[in-house]
Amino acid sequence: MSKIKAENVNVYYGSKQALFDVSIDIAEKEVTALIGPSGCGKSTFLRCLNRMNDVIEICRVEGSIKMDNLELNSRKLDVVRLRENVGMVFQKPNPFPKTIYENVAYGPTIHGIAQSKEEMDQIVETSLKKAALWNEVKDRLDEIGTGLSGGQQQRLCIARAISVSPEVILMDEPCSALDPIATAQIEELIDDLKKEVTIVIVTHSMSQAARVSQKTGFFHLGKLIEFGPTDKIFKNPDNQQTQDYITGRFG
């Protein structure tokens, strides 16, 4: 089932065009990986899905992106509601310089999700459990989140993203700053999470895309070159450019 349907998306930074006519169907409760050489526009596309491009003043998005038939690329859209439903995890772990508890509780607080302290404690606990961090931090919830190790910080950021029970989570190269062990933990986590949420992950590591995703899209120079089931993309791509990239001839 399609969760997000993008049609003819064009993105401009000032006069420079960064995305050309991207159309893609992202399926529900699956992991979709976006790969491609750096600067190919995959992160730009990802940021269209929760309107993070709004932060960049010169950025202009054209085309249609629909999530469950709701037009995302519309002036009238309540961005705050959208981002409550579409969480995001960034390349570098960016927990708030506050306690672990406050980090996870921030989203539910501003959206008024928890009605009482007990409810909030419950949300924090389940989010941290889902992020596979609970056992490591349950005794030190009031320690500062930035004091954790890199992998733990990134899992904390994932816990923060799922605390508001989003339908979609966007991940922008979530493992690029982590060591292999932490990376493996995150990948395992992604596998668990896809039972409940739709995940779109941008990655520069092709093996990661192959490991975690069901669908893969290959971007090059702002264009979506090929999109299909991960197996097919990696074993038998239709497009020569994809073939070259997968086999390491460029990128």
């Binding site: 309540d78 705050v80 501003i110 959206h111 008024g112």
Partner: protein
């Protein structure tokens, strides 16, 4: 009265905040809230307080002048000058307040009664209007709370306006400076020709003091020539820069290129504290220690030295500016990219060659900018010259004689009670505006030079 009204509005705003929150909790039971409950409270409170307070402020600003126009209408047929009208109005107000002690004429009495009456009407009108606005805006806001409209966005737009108005504050200060200076300066230039001011070579404003009537125009012409002040200002600034530039630059070079981490760690904060010593302290030092010292040395060498010599004031001012130049030039040179240094060392240049041939030229625009800023400071410096240099405006280029500056004259003229409307007082504002223009030019040039420099290496 006003205090009660403002307190009432603020109390009402607080109550409506709690009321709004409570209302939100009620709405929550039947439909989804558009924002956190507290935003419903903020929304009501903002609609309650903002319109009423804005109207209140506008009213308070305009009421006095409107009342004044009404009162003085009765006097239009008497052909009075502006000052006389002002005097009458002051009398009327004093009479109404019961503090008037002079002769009471019938006419004055009538005006005072009218004044009291007008004030009464104005007050009740103000209360009525503000109450009406409160009722109107609160009921309007309450209706949208009931309809469960979006609450967060309007509150945030309101906050954004508050932030915007605050940032206008800085612009208002500049406008205030320009207008207050211009207003008095223009009146001054009505009495004294601008040509005489800029090119005249005699500055004796005390000469124009006349107990009654207008001062002699011939006297005026020769009393307000600002050339000696301009010359004195730049002369003392020049002496200061002669002291400050070499020492400041050398210390900046040492700090950025030669000093170890340990020295830098302690030297930087100490220099910051040095830069923070009040100028009145330097002034005291100059007047009490350096001035007499310079005089003694000069006398020993057989020179005629004034106790308030330009040299003493300039030298102390230079010392004051050293930390300023030192820390600015240190910043500028630290900002020179490391790869320039590496490039020079890689070619086998020594440290001093690198500093002289590579870093200093690369940092030159930034250094020039900081020197210009320092000159602007020297020109605007007041207390050192007030205390240590002379107060008589001599046109001289001899550092051993006493001379005066723009800033020192402003202080001399305006210390004690001022009489607005007196050309002597106004001349201080004319001096002020020349000072403002000179420093503004220096700052604009310096800041743009520094900005260009920063962009180059960022």
């Amino acid at each position: 009265m006003n205090l009660i009204l403002v307190t009432f509005i603020i109390l009402l705003a607080f109550t409506s905040y709690y009321f709004g929150r409570k209302k939100a909790l009620v709405i929550q039971s039947s439909q989804r809230l558009t924002a956190l409950p507290k935003f419903y409270g903020y929304y009501l409170a903002a609609w309650c307080a903002a319109p009423a307070l804005i109207i209140f402020a506008l009213w308070s600003v305009f009421e006095p002048s409107i009342v004044k126009t009404f009162i003085l209408q009765d006097y239009t047929d008497q052909n009075l000058t502006k000052n006389e009208l002002q005097l009458i109005y002051t009398k009327v107000k004093a009479l109404a307040a019961g503090t008037y002690t002079g002769n009471i004429t019938n006419f004055l009495d009538e005006s005072a009664n009218k004044y009291i009456q007008l004030k009464g009407i104005a007050n009740s009108a103000k209360v009525a209007i503000i109450l009406a606005i409160l009722i109107f805006s609160l009921s309007f806001a309450y209706r949208s709370v009931q309809k469960n409209d979006r609450m967060r966005e309007p509150v945030e737009i309101f906050l954004k306006w508050v932030l915007f108005v605050a940032s206008l504050g800085a612009v208002l200060v500049t406008i205030g400076i320009v207008f207050s200076l211009l207003f008095e300066a223009i009146r001054f230039f009505q009495a004294v020709k601008i040509f005489d001011f800029i090119f005249g070579t005699h500055w004796y404003p005390a000469k124009t003091f006349v107990r009654d009537g207008q001062p002699d125009p011939e006297l005026m012409k020769d009393a307000f020539g600002a050339v000696p002040l301009f010359a004195g200002t730049f002369f003392i600034a020049f002496i200061a820069m002669c002291v400050a530039i070499p020492i400041g630059l050398l210390s900046g070079i040492y700090l950025s290129e030669y000093a170890g981490r340990g020295i830098r760690k302690y030297a930087k904060p100490i220099i910051e504290i040095l830069a923070g010593i009040p100028t009145v302290v330097y002034g005291f030092f100059a007047a009490l220690t350096v001035g007499p010292f310079v005089k003694e040395i000069g006398n020993a060498m057989g020179l005629e030295v004034s106790a308030e010599s330009a040299l003493a004031a300039g030298a102390v001012m230079g010392v004051m500016i050293i930390p300023f130049i030192s820390s600015l030039s240190d910043d500028v040179m630290t900002a020179v990219p490391q790869n320039l240094r590496d490039g020079s060392y890689a070619m086998g240049a020594t440290k001093s060659e690198t500093v002289k041939k590579v870093i200093f030229p690369a940092a030159l625009p930034g250094i020039v900018g900081s020197i210009l800023l320092a000159v602007s400071r020297a020109v605007g410096e007041t207390m050192i010259v007030v205390m240590a240099s002379g107060l008589a405006a001599n046109l001289t280029m001899n550092p051993l004689e006493s001379t005066s500056t723009i800033t020192a004259q402003i202080v001399v003229i305006l210390i004690g009670d001022q009489q607005f409307g007196d050309p002597k007082t106004q001349s201080a504002f004319a001096l002020g505006i020349s000072l403002f223009i000179v420093t503004l030019l220096l700052n604009v040039i310096a800041l743009s030079v520094v900005k260009k420099y920063r962009e180059k290496y960022e």
